[in-house]
Symmetry: C2
Subunit: 407 residues, 2 copies
């Protein structure tokens, strides 16, 4: 029987996810989208209609921080698969709503407590994996971090394991956005979540242990297909915290590209204390969280899409050994901001994050990934996911001993 789908969230990523779900409506049953602000969900449905999608899509108001409300909506609508692309603050309440009702759960980013920044590693151990037993006991499929990074890059690592190496020695995930939005400064997704990635300790997994660095402390130039030579910095990121569990013998690092201007603005804001999530008091006695004010003055990430040009290149440099011989592969995707906007009305960063959970949902609906337990993406078969992503607009290429070619 066709599976009913509920998208939770109505931001830039939800926009992409909804379009891809609509493009693949024949894979699913009834389609729903819920958001704290129902009108934002309605706007997304209107954008589907503008692209000519006929499939029925229904909006609902939902406070996703309320597990009982999530469970009630799932039951009322008979939802089989929840795609959670809302704020990272709602992951656990939505997951618990799924465990309670038996619906499958898919998200694209790790859970965050709004009051905490950069908790102790592995991050998945603080929230998600504590619900692992409960998910398995309930027979609930819960796929964690099925965006691009985390998500597709985890599948790249698994592909390297499956098809290239006996032993994986290192995984360097490199995320370069060589696009331009033409604004003085903007973040590509919610500034509150975006900056939180960089204000805390940078954790990497090296030589079998957690290593700690500061943001922008370790930089390295990478020479990549299409985007060319780019400087990327060792950064904290979700996937390091799950890949290190599957590949404890490997070094697992995440590198994010930043231009000098971005680093300068970030450094000024952070040095002044304006990226703090701890409230300050104005001279007039008003309690304000500086980061929320920075968010209020920055462009809405969704507003960047129409003017965004250029490409992203995200991939995994994986080193390992096969039959005792060392080797290296680069498995990657190149996406184009303008093409993303023309197809789904979003910029490339949202596109790369919003398409993969649809691939995951299709694989759950088809049964390929309906594992009835909690899983990070690297624990699931990689090739069906990557091949499906190729059909959905995110083709995978690989540079190996034979050259640069599609997988």
């Amino acid at each position: 029987m066709a599976k009913n789908v509920l998208i939770i969230g109505a931001g830039g990523i939800a926009q992409v996810t909804a379009h891809k779900i609509a493009q693949n409506a024949s894979e699913f049953g009834a389609l729903h989208i819920a958001s704290r602000t129902q009108s934002k969900a309605d706007d997304i449905i209107a954008s589907l209609r503008a692209k000519g999608h006929q499939a029925e899509f229904t909006s609902h108001p939902l406070d996703a921080m309320d597990t009982a409300a999530v469970a009630a909506l799932i039951r009322k609508l008979g939802i089989d698969i929840v795609i959670n692309v809302g704020s990272a603050f709602v992951n656990m309440t939505v997951l618990e709503g799924c465990i309670e009702t038996g619906a499958a759960y898919i998200d694209t980013a790790i859970h965050e407590d709004p009051a905490k920044v950069c908790e102790t590693p592995p991050w998945y151990g603080n929230y998600e994996w504590k619900r692992r037993e409960a998910a398995e006991k309930a027979g609930v499929t819960a796929i964690l971090g099925a965006g691009f990074d985390p998500g597709v890059v985890n599948a790249y690592a698994r592909l390297a394991e499956d098809e290239y190496f006996d032993t994986v020695r290192s995984i360097d995930i490199v995320d370069i956005n060589a696009g331009s939005h033409g604004r003085y400064f903007a973040t590509n997704f919610d500034p509150e979540i975006n900056f939180r990635e960089f204000t805390g300790t940078v954790y990497s997994w090296q030589k079998g242990a957690w290593q700690e660095n500061k943001m922008f402390e370790v930089g390295r130039e990478w020479d990549l297909p299409v985007v060319g030579k780019q400087t990327a910095y060792l950064s904290g990121h979700d996937e390091v915290h799950s890949l290190s569990a599957r590949y404890p013998q490997a070094d697992v690092r995440f590198w994010m590209g930043f231009g000098a201007h971005y680093i300068n603005v970030f450094t000024v804001l952070q040095s002044l204390g304006l990226l703090s999530e701890q409230p300050v008091k104005t001279a007039e006695g008003l309690e304000v969280v500086p980061l929320k004010v920075v968010k209020a003055v920055l462009p809405d990430p969704a507003s960047l899409a129409p003017d965004y040009t250029g490409k992203t290149c995200i991939g995994d440099v994986v080193k390992g050994t096969k039959d005792g011989k060392p080797g290296e592969v680069f498995i990657y995707n190149v996406a184009d901001h303008k093409e993303a906007f023309e197809e789904v009305g979003s910029q490339g960063i949202s596109y790369t994050a919003g398409v993969p959970p649809v691939a995951a949902a299709i694989l759950v609906a088809r049964g390929t990934w309906d594992v009835k337990k909690m899983a990070n993406v690297e624990e699931l078969p990689a090739r069906p996911f990557l091949e499906l992503l190729g059909e959905l607009g995110l083709p995978t290429r690989v540079i190996d001993a034979t050259g640069d070619h599609p997988i």
Copy 2:
């Protein structure tokens, strides 16, 4: 009869003014200090006691935005001279309290409407000069802008007029703070007032008309005594708006020194909209003025004093003609941050701003400046003011055809 003095304000400049008043208590009668937050006035009195000053000094709570409250306090205490070193937002309510009661009025900075930034020139015409007739009718001495700049630099221009030139052709006021507070970033006085100086149009008076530039658009290197070669930028400042009325035939420009780091931080904050005094709304619906949040995260200017080292150099490059021959003089003062802190517990910027109104008050008390009308500093005899300032710790030097020497 000895004149009773009331200081309004209890910030960094008030601290200096109170210490200098206490050092010169014999010039006055009863000494009072009033602030919205009485405890801040009490802290200043405690710091006087710590320096061994015996003179009676009494604190009062006062909402200086309330003319009736100002007038009532003046009457109750029998005040003859009000030194207003509170926020620039209270100037007109305090001035009106003085006009109503007959007390002399002295301030150190132009009036500002909290809701407006950078009004049309001449700025004094928007508020102060509209009360000129009322002051004269009431026989009230009202001395405007008697800090360092505006204030002492206006007297420097007058000294050049009195002692060097038949006709003044140009006045370039150069303000260099070559000191270091050792913090990542800080403003030397209230950030809200400080940034307002730079966010609007830069008005200068050139070729008989108001010229408009943007901040940091026009920079120039100056080679000055003690502080050496320094880059200063054409900036908007109070004194240009009164000196241009007395010297309409001269070019009147104000130059403020900034390092590359200051300009970078300022540019980032301004470009992002974080220096705006217009409220923004956070995602949670809280209305916040970004500039007030920036102020809240920056160091309290008063807290910089203990670590402040280095010197300031502020002066006027005046060009003119005497008996048909062109000439140039540089009239200036050099102040030392550390010496200021040791003497009065404040940094050099507060020191240079807080001492001159005391010289003005002494001259009013002695009668020399008790002109019974409103006057900008350049309309008053310059030499007695500058000689008194020399005694009070701000000696004037001049570089003229004969070399570099005291006035």
